[in-house]
Symmetry: C2
Subunit: 531 residues, 2 copies
């Protein structure tokens, strides 16, 4: 599988710039072929122009055709075969099985969006029928539905090189809605991105989509991203990554003469509260589950459980001990790239020197710095230690967590009130624990996007009801999700037709309801046609 190292703009390779970079195998430090070229300003322009040129033709395709396109992308991704997974493994240090699981998830959400647009009701078609006899003024015929906003810029994550990158739900939901996509490849896995891009291009060609519907740009500098977000031809953007990176691009998007929505998912601390009933009955299982959740993927999840809180007691002490032993048995493993590894080491250093933190446990063997390995670490402190230093609530990306010991339920609430917005919060408890800690749950509801009972936040279910979002700084707009079928709502806006001739309306608004979608007719949901 030959890689070109070039941008892919509207189906064609482009290599204008002399600024180059290479991916590296994080486990070996080996620099990987080929050289990749950073996108020039002219190439960014060309990709955005191609996207705009493709927009009318693409958005006017029948929903069925766009669904075919998505399903063909899934086929073409599978056709990339093992070399695709091997390249991803080489660029990320992930085992092949993880790469395969990610591919499975990407295929699944791609087909899910195809199903959603084939069924069609997602456009939220609404019809209010006219009343020409109404007094004092006749009532107009008013209808509306979602239509795509225009070309979307997408920034993939480093930690999901397949499932939240070129083939991520951001790309698939934008394409599903009818928006062309210009993606900025993550510089840590450019080869994975190029292979994925060729699959999308082949699918576009096979299904007769305009070539500008998808372009791939490379870059290691922030400039490429900023120029892309500032480009007047971009109508919206989506991002998964760090708070610093997301906020910088969010600010650029809002500073534009014409601001655009910038949907960033920036991770969070994902607190876990262990209530007394659970501690009594399931300490060992919770400890085991925690160790597995913390170290899975070398802790490189946005939903990593970075804080665990319990009430001081013998059972809490013994839970801590069991978790400590579990952590000790874990092996250090290779992180995604040198930047993440060094940020992890710096953050660890601060925690190791922190006067309120005590090291509870770490992986039993020494991590190799050459192989960018991270050892899991768990620290322990008191509720007061957490209250005194709010920086302990900040996410440190990697297999690290802080255990906080609380004096009573009111300490839980005080800590919950201090939490910043989080993607998730987890409760381990019995049903009666839940009822007794109603006030805690009430606070957590205001702070998080997802509440989990007796589980762990990693391993997101990709479905219609999932919400992968939350109050800032978890995301830049808590109304939207980056995972699950609701994600398509980020790239559309309502367009309303008043007294518009039936034959000229979008299909979903026509009287006969030829697509058979569920519509709101005079305020009631129905698939009926308008007689």
């Amino acid at each position: 599988m030959k890689l070109s190292g070039s941008q892919w703009i509207a189906g064609n390779p482009s290599s204008e710039s002399s600024k180059t970079f290479r991916a590296a195998n994080p486990a070996t430090g080996e620099s990987l072929d080929p050289e990749f070229r950073e996108a020039s300003k002219a190439e960014i322009d060309a990709a955005v122009s191609a996207a705009n040129a493709a927009f009318d033709s693409f958005r006017n395709k029948l929903a069925e055709s766009r669904a075919d396109f998505l399903e063909t992308i899934a086929e073409e991704v599978l056709a990339l075969g093992d070399p695709f997974l091997e390249r991803t493994a080489a660029e990320t240090g992930y085992p092949l099985a993880r790469c395969e699981a990610e591919r499975g998830r990407a295929i699944a959400h791609t087909r899910q969006f195809a199903d959603v647009i084939r069924e069609g009701s997602w456009v939220d078609a609404r019809i209010d029928l006219p009343d020409p006899t109404r007094k004092p003024l006749p009532k107009a015929d008013v209808r509306s539905l979602f239509q795509p906003v225009g070309p979307v810029a997408i920034f993939g994550a480093s930690n999901f090189p397949i499932a939240i990158s070129v083939l991520g739900a951001d790309t698939m939901s934008a394409l599903a809605s009818g928006c062309p996509v210009v993606i900025k490849a993550h510089p840590a896995h450019p080869g994975t991105c190029e292979l994925a891009a060729t699959a999308i291009h082949r699918a576009a060609e096979r299904t007769g989509m305009p070539s500008g519907v998808f372009s791939l740009l490379h870059g290691t500098s922030h400039e490429v991203g900023i120029q892309l977000v500032e480009h007047p031809g971009i109508s919206a953007a989506a991002f998964t990554g760090s708070l610093a990176g997301g906020r910088a691009l969010f600010d650029a998007a809002n500073r534009r003469p014409v601001p655009i929505p910038f949907y960033a998912e920036m991770g969070s601390v994902n607190p876990v509260f262990i209530l007394p009933g659970a501690l009594q009955s399931r300490s060992a299982a919770i400890a085991e589950g925690f160790v597995s959740a913390l170290t899975q993927g070398v802790g490189q999840f946005c939903t990593n459980p970075g804080m665990v809180l319990g009430l001081e007691s013998d059972t809490w002490d013994s839970f801590c001990q069991m978790a400590a032993e579990g952590i000790k048995k874990t092996e250090p493993a290779t992180m995604l790239h040198a930047g993440i590894h060094s940020a992890y080491l710096t953050g660890l250093e601060q925690r190791l020197e922190h006067e309120s933190l005590e090291l509870l446990s770490r992986s039993g063997t020494t991590a190799s710095d050459e192989a960018l390995e991270a050892a899991a670490h768990v620290f322990r402190t008191t509720q007061q230690g957490l209250v005194d230093d709010p920086t302990l609530f900040d996410e440190l990306f990697g297999p690290v967590s802080v255990f906080g010991e609380c004096g009573g339920p009111e300490d839980f609430i005080e800590l919950a009130e201090k939490l910043e917005g989080s993607l998730s919060a987890t409760i381990h408890g019995t049903e009666s624990d839940l009822a007794e800690h109603r006030d805690l749950i009430s606070v957590l509801q205001k702070k998080t996007g997802r509440l989990i009972f007796n589980g762990f936040p990693v391993g997101l279910e990709v479905c219609h009801s999932i919400h992968h979002g939350g109050p800032y700084p978890a995301t830049t707009h808590s109304r939207f999700t980056s995972v699950g079928t609701r994600g398509i709502e980020r790239f559309v806006r309502p367009v309303c037709y008043q007294d518009w001739p039936n034959s000229q309306l979008p299909m979903e608004l026509q009287n006969a309801n030829p697509r058979g979608v569920l519509r709101m007719l005079n305020g009631h949901r129905t698939r009926d046609e308008v007689s």
Copy 2:
């Protein structure tokens, strides 16, 4: 009806500041009693704190109780009787009939939001059932629904002192969703705002809502607005007004350490395209409709038709002539306040001196500057005149419009491409005109929130399908509307429950579906319970 001139914070008057102002009758210049006091920083704090204190209790009320609250607001507004309308008329120069019509609209949308939350399906409840036997991993039980974001700051418009102010759809949709409201009264009609606020407070008291659910703050300076938007206790904001004011507050909202969504509706030029078939068959009726739409409410609508485009021809000339005669018969009328009046005069001056514009017609009698009167003005230019000076596409608030003569359909498209985002675009034509100008419609679809056929953009139908929004600068987020029941979506976010015990779930997510709402169950919409 006694006015206090104070802030109303959680049901109590507050008059800390020594900074005062008065409303004026724009028609007479008469200064109106009482003196109003500008909100102090401490009063802003107190209002936001009260809103936060009320949030838990308010959001946990049954939907039926919040619906009762809204319906009681409608009752209490009616109970204010004629003195309310008379105060509005005195503060705005609007005839009583207009004030009454606005009250009717406010009552209607208040009851509409009550109906929406009573029915309950708006929360978009979604359930994906678990599959403990799934391989390789069991599938979790995942459910989600919309929940309120927190206290909302609202900035009312000057031009709808009843229907888009304290009693506007912004307030009612926020309260419907479960969000407390802190409103910044428009300084041009503070008495109207105070009376409306007392109605809301009485309704809150009668229905047992926490007092902090609603507060009213006054202020003539930008500071009060900026301090309110920057307050960490505010979770979202909505605004209707000028581009300059909206953008300044939008920027403040985005600069916050924790940015919040700022939904601004800032008006637009609302172009009207008259296609040949319509010009042939209905010139006189269109001219008459145009004159009425332009001068209604002294042109003080966000959807005022500020630009009319047609193809050069004898019928176009005669249409222009008919419109000119109609305009000549109109009378100047009093604008809302001195600021709007002077901005109108300045804008007119620029247009009168503009080398590409020819004055086609103006109101037949002279406007009284003392009575803040505006005469309607219509200018005429060529397509080239418009292309050469993009400032002619800018909205000038008041009864003024520019007629542009185009050489052919390609001129229409060139002008449409140059349009900024607009709340609406109107087409006058026959059905075959529409089919022939498909490319024009395609461009307009990308530029506007509402497409109107053979009508005029003023006189918005308040219903489920209406969209009063559009690409920037019409609004700051084209995904949302400020009028119609979809407006409630601005003040909520999805919250997801994973493996959560049934008895502890919000009612709309419980297996038995006790509220009988339409839900998405494993991807299909149904009111069925989960067995």
